[in-house]
């Protein structure tokens, strides 16, 4: 019985994004007594503490939560760096979309369209080789001109920049997609 209860609680804590309070566990598992639940949580935490493991159950913010052990942080950080290689932040994605559809373009044009300074995003995209500098505009301040790269085309499976979905194609999708849900 206690084993089963331990497993249930383990899965509940695992699935919670916020610290799972004792109250909530108790309310969810109304067929078990408070003592049973307390005992199960205790045992569960002890298991994680004593056995060699990479994760643990911590008590935080008035509840229980799974977390990785602090000594493993350096490796996790490395993984995050690795993960970022092929990924984009929402800001970078938006910036990239402006470059893609408005190229050749400058930073001030991008920032104006997005309504927010995009210098950081452009830098990220340059580093990821999704955009490149192709020259300077003959305009005050001689701003740099950006274009998407071949790597960009490969990443999105395009043969040429002309193959980007049109506003009509997309509008339909966005509109109907909204009604769906």
């Amino acid at each position: 019985m206690n084993e089963q209860l331990k497993n249930i609680i383990e899965s509940l804590i695992f699935i919670s994004v916020e610290p799972l309070s004792f109250e909530k566990i108790k309310n969810t598992l109304s067929e078990f007594s408070e003592e049973q639940i307390k005992k199960a949580i205790q045992d569960l935490r002890k298991n994680y503490k004593t056995s060699q493991k990479g994760i643990q159950i911590i008590q935080v913010g008035g509840g229980y939560l799974f977390s990785t052990k602090p000594q493993l942080d350096p490796w996790i950080r490395r993984l995050m760096q690795e993960e970022k290689k092929n990924k984009l932040s929402p800001a970078a994605l938006e910036t990239l979309s402006v470059v893609a559809y408005h190229q050749p373009t400058t930073l001030s044009e991008i920032s104006a369209l997005r309504g927010t300074d995009s210098a950081h995003s452009i830098k990220t995209l340059l580093k990821k080789k999704m955009v490149k500098i192709v020259g300077r505009k003959k305009a005050p301040g001689k701003p740099l001109i950006y274009r998407t790269t071949d790597k960009f085309l490969v990443y999105f499976g395009l043969n040429s920049i002309k193959d980007l979905p049109s506003s009509e194609e997309l509008n339909q999708i966005i509109e109907e997609g909204k009604n769906e849900k």
């Binding site: 899965s11 994004v17 799974f66 977390s67 993960e83 990924k87 932040s89 979309s97 005050p140 997309l170």
Partner: protein
């Protein structure tokens, strides 16, 4: 009439004409390789007739299939010797039905897997705030890219329609602001500066200020060549 209602199967339950045909074939235990076109056509039409009115947009496909069935039936009536086996008028339809049958089978497999997988819960996001910021990064596809752009354009459009409450900008304030700008930057790019103004009103006030500055010789407007950008320099004596 009420009798008819009893066996009425709603056309809506079928994904399309192929789905309905396959249902009839299965119900009658017909060999898909040798479909009795005449009777299946009759059955098929009965389903369509249950509808009082035909919604062309949704049921057009069903009607199209009916025409196809009738056409095949007429072909079958041609003298026997004219039809060799390869030219069986049903061939194309049978091929399509067989392909569709496979899709249906795949569907049942996926449905079962969906059922099983739904029991295994995975986290949609990470609990630890320490890593959450990193998690913001995502793998994107062409759809995401295009959606990002067109959503942005739409947002922009809506912004433009909005009537901004005109900000009250006084001449004095603007003078002060511009003087500060000059002191900081030593020169001003005419177009850039005016583009930055939030409203036309504000831009106009800035323009008056600039004229005032030029009149009092606080600044000097320079254009290297005709049609070149105008630069305004602060005269620091």
């Amino acid at each position: 009439m009420s009798n008819r209602h009893d066996y009425k199967v709603n056309l809506e339950v079928f994904q399309g004409p192929l789905d309905l045909l396959l249902f009839l074939i299965k119900k009658k235990k017909i060999d898909i390789q040798d479909i009795p076109i005449a009777s299946i056509t009759r059955e098929y039409l009965q389903y369509l007739e249950q509808k009082n009115s035909i919604n062309l947009e949704r049921e057009g496909e069903f009607l199209f299939m009916a025409t196809l069935l009738i056409y095949i039936k007429s072909q079958m009536l041609l003298p026997r010797e004219e039809i060799t086996n390869e030219e069986d008028p049903r061939r194309t339809l049978v091929n399509r039905l067989q392909e569709y049958q496979k899709i249906k089978a795949a569907c049942s497999v996926l449905k079962e897997k969906e059922e099983n997988q739904k029991l295994k819960w995975q986290r949609a996001s990470l609990p630890s705030s320490k890593w959450r910021e990193e998690e913001e990064f995502m793998e994107v596809s062409l759809f995401d890219l295009a959606e990002a752009f067109f959503s942005l354009m739409k947002r922009k459009e809506q912004e433009n329609i909005q009537i901004l409450p005109s900000k009250e900008v006084s001449l004095e304030e603007k003078m002060k602001e511009m003087r500060n700008y000059f002191q900081k930057h030593s020169y001003l790019d005419f177009f850039d500066y005016f583009n930055q103004q939030e409203t036309i009103e504000e831009a106009l006030i800035s323009f008056f200020c600039l004229l005032e500055f030029i009149k009092t010789k606080t600044v000097m407007a320079v254009q290297e060549k005709p049609f070149h950008p105008i630069k305004v320099w602060f005269c620091n004596e």
